[in-house]
């Protein structure tokens, strides 16, 4: 690793030099994400898998250097200018980027993933339904708290669509039961604040029964705080996504269960869908233009199998 650090500068230069030299004879399909995270590593693995099955295409996986709409937009414009044939994007800010996305969609077939932009001219959305995922979280809570209880949620950006849909989904399921979600605290994706939010929540509400981590890094922070304060096992944790700590907690039984998306499938199925579409086969696009890859509940029963699958995918 030290050696790696030392060669960083060299590698960066090399990387710049390499991007210009892509083969132009194959049709290029681009998968543009909204920022850097482990989550997208899985999608990248799915894209790699798809590449094996699509030798006639050049599949590209692109990270914008910043999770900003403008930066992502420029990246897409550059890709279109460089001649890619289709783009799949997880838009940073789908709501206010309608025009910009339409511009891309007017030039090449545009697909959305992760967060949809239904008002644009996108061909289809492929990804999870965050509302469904939220509902599954609600089911986990209902099951873990048969006598009801107070829950508090933690999330990065409470106003973001994916966060809101997950929260609404969960609320719709627990509505009418004795389980209630009393508050959701945001942290602006700052892990220090994420952890402090859990600490403060615990200090302010010592009688809390359940904590929900809506973004992938929230459950580990909940887990750590409860562990440090000796409340692990006393307070139910409902999780999203597959952070290693989260899976460890599930295995240990201290986290009730976690709702996972299948970014691998988005990458894999998404690329194949795009290739098919370019070849003229439009049958895979449903009428509502939503290709939903269902989210899964991972609990103690299936966690080992899930982890093995993850390892295989990221390792491969």
């Amino acid at each position: 690793m030290k050696l790696r650090l030392a060669t960083c500068a060299l590698m960066i230069t090399a990387a710049f030099a390499a991007t210009g030299a892509n083969a132009q004879d194959k049709k290029a399909l681009a998968f543009v994400v909204n920022g850097a995270s482990d989550f997208w590593k899985l999608a990248e693995a799915g894209v790699k898998k798809a590449q094996e099955e699509l030798p006639n295409y050049d599949l590209q996986f692109k990270y914008p250097e910043q999770a900003a709409a403008a930066v992502q937009q420029r990246l897409m414009d550059d890709l279109v200018a460089a001649g890619v044939s289709a783009v799949m994007v997880s838009a940073v800010d789908p709501k206010s980027s309608t025009d910009a996305l339409n511009k891309v969609g007017a030039q090449v077939p545009l697909f959305t993933t992760d967060s949809d932009a239904p008002d644009t001219n996108r061909i289809a959305y492929i990804g999870s339904s965050n509302t469904d995922a939220g509902k599954q979280a609600g089911e986990i809570a209902l099951k873990a708290l048969p006598d009801g209880g107070k829950c508090i949620g933690f999330v990065g950006l409470p106003g973001a669509d994916n966060a809101r849909e997950r929260i609404e989904g969960m609320k719709s399921v627990i509505a009418g039961s004795k389980v209630e979600l009393v508050d959701v605290r945001g942290d602006d994706i700052d892990m220090t604040r994420a952890k402090r939010n859990v600490e403060d929540a615990l200090a302010a509400n010592p009688d809390i029964d359940c904590m929900v981590g809506f973004y992938s890094y929230n459950p580990p922070r909940i887990y750590e705080v409860l562990k440090e304060s000796g409340k692990l096992g006393e307070i139910t944790i409902v999780a999203f996504d597959e952070d290693p700590i989260t899976l460890g907690g599930v295995k240990e039984g201290t986290i009730a269960a976690t709702v996972v998306q299948q970014p691998y499938e988005w990458g894999y199925q998404g690329m194949k869908l795009m290739a098919k579409y370019l070849e003229g086969d439009k049958s895979m696009v449903p009428d509502n233009k939503l290709v939903i890859v269902p989210t899964k509940i991972i609990d103690k029963a299936n966690v080992d199998a899930f982890e093995a699958e993850l390892k295989a995918r990221i390792g491969g």
């Binding site: 650090l5 960083c8 850097a36 945001g186 994706i189 892990m191 750590e224 290693p244 460890g248 295995k251």
Partner: protein, 320 residues
């Protein structure tokens, strides 16, 4: 303690009293202990920033250094190839080296501190992201480093060790800044570099030392913060932390023109910032208003201070 520090202390006490009245849990041992922990984490690098600001400069790369050194530290420790103490020494040395480079670029190459450290902000962030391939650096589930965890995240009768470290560093830095020859030279250089040079002070060495101290303390803070979050996503870890440091230093009476400031002021500034963050959560104020609350209270405090000072001056004048 001068007038400004006293005003800040009063502001902290007023805010604290109001919060405690609305939600008495503010004073619960758990909450105080948690807040103390964060004061320790943010205070350590705010002290460093104060040295640079007193020298008449600014260090904008603090957040990026915290991310870079954090991922390196977590990586070295979780791989288990080296002992954590070696990793700590390596990170500290790297921090000091970064400070040395900044100092030399500013004093020898005569670049503006703003430019040098702004470039640092971009470079270290980029390197940190490249180092982990943009992945989150963290410890595997169940990984445990008992001594290290006890040292940096442990609590002694509820007092977090980060606060104890912060207090020790504060005392050392207070002696360095307010009692040592170096501290006096630092104030002299920050206030009037020319007069300092005319008095035979090696001004470029003093300025460079300020950056070494700043980045060295930032390295210490980086380790504490890394062990607090236990997981670092290099693209967002430590974002804007330089602003917390600058805000704490300036609140504490450091002048951005250099040559002014005190350690006690910076400590109080850090305390206020963390109490404000705590308040947002405890009073159930929507998280999105976090920064707005922070900005408003600081602004009101500064205004009240100014107003109070003016009134007192005019009263004094009337009496005289």
């Amino acid at each position: 303690m001068n007038r400004k520090d006293l005003g800040l202390l009063i502001l902290i006490l007023v805010v604290g009293t109001v919060v405690a009245i609305i939600n008495p849990r503010f004073l619960s041992p758990v909450n105080l202990s948690n807040t103390a922990n964060l004061i320790g984490l943010f205070g350590i690098f705010a002290l460093g920033q104060a040295f640079v600001i007193i020298s008449g400069g600014i260090e904008l790369s603090v957040g990026s250094i915290i991310a870079l050194l954090g991922v390196i530290f977590v990586d070295l420790v979780s791989l288990g190839t080296v002992n954590w103490s070696v990793a700590f020494a390596a990170v500290l040395a790297l921090g000091c080296l970064i400070g040395l480079v900044h100092g030399l670029l500013i004093t020898k190459a005569r670049l503006q501190p703003f430019v040098v450290t702004l470039c640092g902000l971009l470079i270290y962030r980029g390197v940190a992201r490249y180092y982990t391939d943009d992945a989150t650096a963290g410890f595997p589930f169940g990984a445990s480093f008992p001594t290290l965890e006890w040292l940096v995240a442990g609590r002694f009768y509820g007092i977090p060790h980060s606060l104890i470290a912060f207090i020790i560093i504060t005392i050392i830095m207070a002696v360095v800044l307010h009692r040592s020859v170096f501290g006096r030279y630092l104030f002299a250089v920050g206030k009037n570099e020319e007069a300092a040079r005319y008095s035979g002070i090696h001004t470029s060495r003093i300025i460079t030392a300020a950056y070494v101290i700043c980045c060295g303390l930032t390295a210490v803070a980086a380790v504490f913060i890394a062990m607090y979050t236990r997981s670092i996503s290099p693209s967002s870890h430590g974002n804007f932390y330089e602003l917390y440091a600058i805000a704490a230093a300036v609140l504490g009476g450091c002048s951005l023109r250099g040559g002014e400031g005190s350690i006690i002021g910076v400590v109080l500034g850090t305390v206020l910032l963390q109490v404000l963050q705590n308040l947002v959560n405890l009073l159930g104020i929507p998280s999105s208003l976090n920064f707005a609350v922070m900005g408003s209270v600081i602004l009101l405090g500064v205004l009240a201070d100014q107003q109070f000072y003016r009134t007192r001056k005019s009263v004094a004048r009337a009496a005289g």
